[in-house]
Subunit: 150 residues, 3 copies
Amino acid sequence: MSVAQAASRVAAATAFAVLVIAAAGVPDARAQATVAPKNRVVMQVSDGEPAKWNLALNNARNLQSDLGSANVEIEIVAYGPGIGMLKRDSTVATRVDEALTSGVKIVACENTMRAQKLAQPDMLPSIAYVGAGVVEIMQRQQQGWSYLRP
Amino acid sequence: MSVAQAASRVAAATAFAVLVIAAAGVPDARAQATVAPKNRVVMQVSDGEPAKWNLALNNARNLQSDLGSANVEIEIVAYGPGIGMLKRDSTVATRVDEALTSGVKIVACENTMRAQKLAQPDMLPSIAYVGAGVVEIMQRQQQGWSYLRP
Amino acid sequence: MSVAQAASRVAAATAFAVLVIAAAGVPDARAQATVAPKNRVVMQVSDGEPAKWNLALNNARNLQSDLGSANVEIEIVAYGPGIGMLKRDSTVATRVDEALTSGVKIVACENTMRAQKLAQPDMLPSIAYVGAGVVEIMQRQQQGWSYLRP
């Protein structure tokens, strides 16, 4: 083998290796972008009207029935005038219980509770709590959740 | 040319080739991140008030006039109490037609139609249909569309 | 050194260089994806009721007090019927001033102002302006900001 032939073979083999590695690396990044996204929806309830609370609960149920309950993660965040949805005397108490049982996560904003002088005994059982509803909604979006304001 | 010279030249040529390919490959990934995003907006219409329907149609028109109709994709999803916007007797029927003509996609939620005993002949012509409005809105966000609730 | 040995050494050195460059490039892309997201929230104010304006200002304050003002960027976009929040005679003028002082960016939609025959002297001082509120809200989401509609 002459020196020129050796150089040529090395260059060819190297170019091939580089292309293989590049091909292995770049599509990997693309695969991450095209993988099926998880179905996750954060819903904001900040209105005081029971009609909006019912709409939120309908939306949650429709997401579950269309996608299958196991295939969608739903979190309802109640704050501001929407906090009434989660009080013990809420007109939608039964439906909130059903949603919790079906796997929907429902959280009350402690900032709002403090402002309205509400404590956990004033609230429906089985719900969860977050320090600030707006921070929760922002963070869910940062984590890739879709936003829905019924 | 000695063997050492040959090796040196091959190594230099190879390092250059690797850098060229790396430069072609890695900035490609970065370019995808910084490339101008497509302008795509999914609008939720879930209120029963015609004022909200008009606001949604105004918003669509403003997006088109500011960005150029060819540069923005808009989809209006009507569901829940918002379904009235797309009924044959809708107070904004003419404006819905104009929006459709201008390239806005307008879809009605079949879950809502079923609940309100509406069939396609009850609805404005030329609109499209989706199984569940909330699923459509979630999926558009998963696809990178911006969300707007007028 | 024989030609074969030279070729072998060049190939080994090259493969190493390629792996180093690949290792430097690909994890870099992954690091970008997992880095802690900046806290940035764009708020839409498009309702005419002062209760909604107060809720938006409460939400901004809660974001700041929970995360620390230095750790969250907030922009309130007023348009449509929401433009009244930013007029000189606004019922929440004092609170708008306080929000501006605390670092919240507050912008009025010039499309809306034109439609309502409003000029900058009609508006609160220190606010900023955007051509189209809806375009601003879309672009902020494209830039990774979370969306909140109080």
